[in-house]
Amino acid sequence: MHILGIESSCDETGVALYDTSRGLLAHRLHTQARMHATYGGVVPELASRDHVRRLPALVREVMSEGARDWTELDVVAYTAGPGLAGALLVGASFAESLALALDRPTLPVHHLEGHLLSPLLAEPRPEFPFLALLVSGGHTQLMAVRAVGDYRLLGETIDDAAGEAFDKTAKLLGLGYPGGPALAALAEQGDPARFALPRPLLHAPTLDFSFSGLKTAVALKVGAPDWRAEYAADLAASFQQAVVEVLVAKTMAAVRATGLPRVVVAGGVGANRRLREALAEAGAEQGFAVFYPDVALCTDNGAMIAFAAALRLEAGARVKWDRRIEVHPRWALEGLRQG
């Protein structure tokens, strides 16, 4: 079965063609990061404008690289939420229309489910059940995943997401937008013990996170009279260390609480080298294995959407034939039921 996957929930336009018997046939991604950088953050209207300009060309490229005829497509999958309403609407209208033109059904996919299942596209492939640590620009969540569609939220951030904290801190240090990767690179050259920063909620009895206080602590250091530009690397390293420590400690607590033997990391922050090292050490100590998606599939992409659709269909999900163009800018993953 051939599934086309379309992602347009934020500032990335992604398209992929997935074959349930042969795997990923082709995928394309256009990132708008540079466009938004000029504005210091994602401008929703500009994001939507870019999606509608890029999407058809990406779809065309994917179909030609995948060497499949249009009539061989079985299902058109697309991100229906959560995300920016206008951006989602571009992908949804295109996908539903394409499906109508082909007399095929669609499958709306939850963006986070896409992230969550993306490590299953990699080798080695983790088995169910597992603990998922979702760390992206908009989310920081720990979830118990028993099967496709069976997700239990164990804890999440009560304010900023981990990626958001990286980006905001990067901005404070003048690293531009989105500065997460640049901040991580700068941290490599710094001393993580130089600045004492808070570890928010580290010892709280819940599995929730909080990162906005950490960002404020960084702002205070940068705004202090004795602040010097050459401290930036040390502050970046200290900040990264604080985030990583909290993420790892809560992950270990979640493993203890659930007894799940596998941890799957998804979302852009999963690309962070220090986080990967620390999780590997924690896994070795506590006896859990850690899995990641391929680096190219860590951030938003169409492949994870096509793949999540494939897994849902395999698990018995019903396809959509009603031709309604509907998006869910706010949509809880837990509410997702198979069917």
């Binding site: 000029t38 504005y39 210091g40 401008v43 209207e45 500009l46 939507s48 404008r49 509608v52 300009r53 999407l55 058809p56 060309a57 779809v59 065309r60 249009w70 009539t71 497509l73 206008g86 609407l89 571009v90 992908g91 949804a92 209208s93 295109f94 996908a95 539903e96 229309s97 394409l98 499906a99 109508l100 033109a101 082909l102 007399d103 937008y177 031709r323 309604r324 163009i325 509907e326 998006v327």
Partner: protein
């Protein structure tokens, strides 16, 4: 030829399908319902005409200016429908479609652009052909340019009742006929689109885009900083 037209730039969305001299049409009222019901309407007119998407000659869409989300809905829908069958797309401008309602004359087309502004463009319609005299702009009504040619003119406006008194006096005084509450329906796109199609003015889906006219929608980081400076003068 068999032509489908999709128009969702305003409050009343509509689709129309023309086959020979027969037109099938559906209208959807209210912004919120556009997206949900648009494809059902497309499906309905196709079924009534006994056609499938693949047998269409081309798809026209209302390219704007108009409500941004609506413009993208029409464009992305046209793109998605056209893609697998390599159908050509025909973008039709809202101001063109308004001007075409005036008959043979020099015409000023206007549309409410919110924020106290209006979209504007001058056209000349002669021998059934629409010629554009000025590039479309978005401005406060006071700044709408005077006619680029001599003689009386017609004014066709969409949602222009409230802004009308603010147009330059010479523009109002020289108008032979004035309509301020015109609307654009998918049916109105058909004639312009047929002509464009006949003249080869079509685009493939990957070159189709809405025509927003209002292009400045956010301040760059530099502009934001400059604005903060002006608001908070140094102590």
């Amino acid at each position: 030829m068999d032509l489908l037209a999709i128009e969702t730039s305003g409050e009343i969305a509509s689709v129309a399908l023309q086959r020979g001299d027969t037109v099938w049409e559906r209208r959807l009222q209210g912004y919120a319902r556009h997206a949900e019901h648009l494809l059902l309407a497309v499906h309905a007119v196709l079924a009534e005409a006994g056609l499938t998407v693949e047998r269409l000659s081309a798809i026209a869409f209302g390219a704007g200016p108009g409500a941004f989300t609506g413009l993208r809905l029409a464009c992305a829908t046209a793109q998605g429908l056209a893609m697998p069958w390599s159908l050509p797309l025909v973008p039709v401008g809202t101001l063109e479609a308004l001007a075409a309602q005036a008959g043979e004359a020099t015409v000023l087309a206007l549309a409410d652009a919110r924020m106290g502004q209006c979209y504007h463009a001058w056209f000349r319609c002669s021998g059934g052909r629409l010629e554009s005299l000025t590039e479309a702009g978005v401005e406060v009504p006071e700044a709408v340019p005077l006619p680029p040619a001599d003689g009386p003119w017609h004014i066709v406006g969409q949602g222009m009742e409230a802004l009308w008194p603010r147009l330059p006096e010479p523009i109002r005084a020289g108008a032979l006929e004035v309509v301020l509450d015109a609307t654009v329906q998918a049916r109105d796109l058909l004639r312009l689109a047929r002509r464009a199609f006949a003249e080869g003015r079509t685009v493939p889906p990957w070159e189709a885009a809405p025509y927003y006219v209002r292009d400045k929608v956010a301040l760059t980081a530099e502009e934001q900083a400059a604005l903060r400076q002006r608001r908070m003068p140094a102590p």
